[in-house]
């Protein structure tokens, strides 16, 4: 399982976080978190989504400054007042979602701000290409350094990010779920590089939801929960079950209160849906009372499929039927009229008008029905909003307060209220609990379950496996624009979904991971 740790005295601590706290508005992302990275170790940071891992990474990257607490480098206090400062301190970060410049070449992406120079401080393009090629060779990547980053697959983008981190000899390498989009071979290649860096004395911080990888690569494991530090132990002293219990800190069964419902008639029928270059030949049914989860990696095309079903994007081939009637493509208003509601992934940008009041937001989708002779009646608006916010238990000071003052979970409820008030028969929710604290999360889950019990057909796009497994009656798995698996609730487990999502269904049984 775990690699043995070197015997004798522990290696010196390179980087330490002490008692670090950080809040965003009303939500406390980190509360007295701590972390200690030693030279020459691979250190895992695990926790549920929302446990504060990404916030911690962003503090290390200099993106966020901590509200309180200290960052120590070699025992000396370190001020990380920007990404440049973190870089200067030798901290390289690979983010979950690659951050590349699409218009610039791959080589320039890697060496931005550090391009090799020729005379007169001008960029030596030949050396730039050569150094990039050498890096790719070391990583075993086959990519033309001069091609633009636009159009790279997520996995290739991630390899560019890794090459970038490798290109400046980092003392601390932070990898925030780098393997989420990688295939088995690519993961192995990444680990070879990570181990090489570790053996040269760098500290590697590895964040992942895949326990086989965590135990394969890491020497020590730190567990976080709800923004707080829980434990740090040698990987050799831990089992997967122990880690999961510490991460969750409560009984998993309570988290996903899915009611058993007998599915009714088919409500949504998708046949052979294709959008060239994005997804192809997608077919599935959703019945009344059913929650169907659409699982897959970031970039697999899940949101894109549902955007096409809802008519936001056009599709090249295929058909969408609601209650047996074919839906015209490319028209969200036709989709709404047919009874489809779409709750988008990014509620700040696509779901809510942050400056407007709770009641205005909650009634945006119905403003014509609430209007008389084209004029909105404030009284009717308020009455509708009050009804729905009460049903969904939105915690807001006043209904006239701007939505931006609400917590993430309550904002999500307002978005739900907005769409539920259109009385849909098909509800599509994209990442319904992203960025919501754990308590409100289960309220959103209870709500979805209740809605399904009332006969709504629900399609849930989610990247959180526990949520998918806990809530869904069926799990549809997408990989690189194709639907690769349809797993009923009884057979769905973490490994099956993950393997299908990474495009390798063959090596399913051999991983001994419990969940």
């Amino acid at each position: 399982m775990a690699d043995g740790t070197p015997s004798g005295a522990p290696a010196p601590v390179v980087l330490a976080l002490q008692d670090v706290s950080k809040s965003f508005g009303a939500v406390a992302a980190l509360r007295g978190a701590q972390l200690e990275l030693r030279a020459g170790e691979a250190h895992a940071l695990v926790g549920e989504n929302g446990a504060g891992k990404s916030t911690l990474v962003k503090i290390l990257a200099g993106v966020h400054g901590p509200d309180s607490g200290r960052v120590l480098l070699d025992g000396q206090p370190l001020v990380l007042d920007g990404p440049a400062a973190a870089r200067a301190a030798g901290i390289a970060v690979i983010y979950q979602e690659p951050t590349l410049f699409p218009d610039l070449s791959v080589a320039e992406n890697i060496f931005m701000g550090r391009q090799p120079l020729a005379g007169g401080r001008r960029i030596d393009r030949k050396a730039l290409t050569e150094r990039c090629r050498a890096l790719f060779e070391r990583l075993g990547v086959h990519m033309d350094p001069d091609r633009p980053a636009r159009g790279l697959s997520i996995a290739d983008q991630q390899m560019v990010e890794i090459a970038k981190a490798l290109s400046f000899d980092a003392r601390v390498l932070v990898m925030d779920e780098p393997t989420a989009a990688l295939s088995g071979v690519e993961v192995e290649r990444l680990f070879v590089v990570a181990r090489a860096l570790r053996d040269q004395g760098a500290a590697v911080l590895f964040i992942s939801h895949r326990f086989d990888e965590v135990f394969d690569l890491c020497d020590r494991i730190t567990v976080m929960r709800d923004g707080q530090w829980v434990s740090t132990d040698l990987a050799a002293d831990l089992t997967v079950d122990q880690v999961v219990r510490r991460m969750v800190g409560r009984d998993v069964a309570d988290l996903f209160p899915k009611q058993e419902v007998t599915a009714g008639d088919v409500v949504l029928e998708v046949r052979g849906l294709t959008r060239r270059g994005v997804f192809s030949d997608i077919s599935f049914d959703v019945r009344a009372g059913e929650i169907v989860a659409l699982a897959g990696l970031v970039g697999a095309g899940r949101s894109e499929v549902m955007r096409a079903v809802f008519g936001v994007d056009r599709y090249d081939a295929g058909s969408v039927r609601v209650h047996g009637r074919e839906l015209a493509g490319g028209s969200p208003s036709a989709a709404m009229a047919a009874g489809i509601a779409l709750v988008p992934e990014d509620r700040r940008q696509q779901g809510l008008v942050m400056e407007l009041s709770v009641e205005r937001n909650a009634t945006l989708t119905r403003r014509w029905k609430l209007a008389r002779a084209g004029l909105l009646s404030a009284r009717r608006e308020r009455a509708t909003a009050a009804e729905w916010t009460k049903k969904l238990q939105v915690k807001a000071g006043k209904l006239s307060d701007p939505v931006s003052t609400l917590s993430g979970g309550n904002q999500q409820k307002v978005v739900l209220a907005k769409w539920l008030s259109t009385e849909p028969t098909v509800l599509v929710v994209d990442e319904p609990t992203r960025g919501i604290d754990v308590g409100t999360k289960s309220e959103v889950h209870r709500l979805l379950s209740q809605l399904a019990a009332d006969g709504l057909a629900i399609v849930m796009i989610s990247s959180e496996l526990p949520e998918v497994l806990g809530m869904a009656d069926r799990v549809l798995v997408m990989h690189e624009g194709r639907l690769v698996d349809d797993i009923p609730r009884a057979r769905a487990d973490e490994d099956g979904v993950m393997l299908a999502a990474t495009g390798q269904t063959a090596r399913a049984a051999q991983l001994g991971v419990a969940s």
């Binding site: 970060v93 699409p102 218009d103 550090r114």
Partner: protein, 355 residues
């Protein structure tokens, strides 16, 4: 289960790289085609005009064309720097006006001022205006469209206020020192000096954007602002610098304007900003930032100027110029969009086929 296991062994990587290379070659070709396209349009326009009027490119006509183009070319090169960062500067016409009037006033009050000092003074006036623009955009994070629209009016107002309070509403050619006037008409090997200055500016800006770290960072900022921030690029400083340089070049253009027209009032350069943006867009500088070159923008400026002088030669009402420019802008945007989409589809295609 319908997936097949990925087995990148043996010939697969080589094939992947070959595909990737084809994508790159296509990208290079598109880039070249984009600028050659403007050149081709320019050649066709000149060819047709030459048939209608064989004297179109005769000595004096050609020199007039170069003189008219020089100012727009300088402004377009500066604007390129700003647009590449996903910003825009609409105040360049007003900056040009202020700089021209300031230079004129300086030369009338102190007739002994050397031409070089006049050039530097006008450039400095522009740089200060650019500094204000850039500071508000970069520090206060106000959209540049709004800031520079405000500055368009504010600077023009300042210009008028200065002129009316100094009782010199107009600077006349007769009041300007002869040294400066002869600079406006000077030639080297038959080529107007003003045009040579413009060419030098384009070469320097184009070279800088292509070959210097901070120049590449401007492209990065416009291509993906969030990624720029995460990779430690000093976004605010770079944007500020782009605005200062653009302002300075608008100031320089003001001196060139004074040298060429020699009669200056406070309306000099009114409405020029839209011509400048048009030239850049026609020249392949994407308004969404991240792509384009100063050379392309300069070619765009040359094309727009040539249209303006060619249409009368073709016996067309000069009012057609605006319609032609409008059609060109739309054609350029449609072309850029189509090329981008096709390139993206081509580069992406291999990912889907691979699975």
């Amino acid at each position: 289960m319908t997936t097949t296991q990925q087995t990148p062994t043996g010939a697969a990587p080589a094939a992947a790289e070959a595909r990737s290379r084809r994508g790159t070659a296509l990208a290079h070709r598109l880039f070249v085609v984009r600028e050659l396209g403007i050149l081709a349009a320019l050649a066709v326009l000149i060819g047709v005009t030459l048939i209608a009027n064989p004297r179109f490119l005769s000595g004096q006509n050609l020199r007039d064309l170069m003189l008219s183009a020089a100012i727009l070319v300088v402004l377009a090169a500066g604007q390129t720097m700003v647009i590449i960062t996903r910003n825009v500067d609409l105040s360049v016409g007003s900056i040009l006006g202020l700089s021209a009037y300031a230079t004129g006033t300086l030369l009338v009050d102190r007739p002994g001022t050397p031409v070089l000092v006049a050039l530097l003074a006008g450039t400095a006036v522009g740089a200060v205006c650019g500094l204000v623009n850039g500071a508000v955009v970069a520090v206060a994070k106000v959209p540049s469209l709004v800031v520079t629209l405000g500055m368009l009016y504010a600077i023009r107002g300042l210009d008028s206020l200065w002129a009316s309070s100094s009782d010199r509403l107009q600077v006349n050619a007769a009041d300007l020192p002869s040294g400066f006037k002869s600079f406006g008409g000077a030639r080297v090997l038959g080529v107007p000096v003003l045009f040579l200055i413009a060419v030098a500016v384009v070469l320097v800006i184009g070279w800088y954007l292509r070959s210097y770290r901070s120049g590449r960072e401007l492209y990065g900022i416009g291509s993906a602002p969030e990624a720029a921030r995460l990779s430690g690029i000093p976004v605010g400083r770079r944007v500020l610098m782009a605005f200062v340089v653009n302002g300075a070049l608008a100031g320089l253009a003001g001196v060139l304007y004074a040298a060429r027209f020699q009669t200056l009032d406070t309306t000099a350069g009114t409405g020029l900003e839209l011509n400048v943006v048009a030239a850049a867009v026609v020249g392949g500088v994407a308004i969404a930032g991240g792509t384009g070159s100063a050379w392309g923008a300069a070619l765009g400026a040359l094309l727009l100027t040539t249209i303006g002088t060619a249409l009368p030669q073709l016996g067309l009402n000069p009012f057609w110029r605006d319609a032609a420019v409008g059609a060109l802008i739309i054609a350029a945007i449609v072309l850029d969009r189509t090329l981008t989409l096709r390139l993206a589809a081509r580069l992406r295609g291999r990912n889907l086929r691979g699975s």
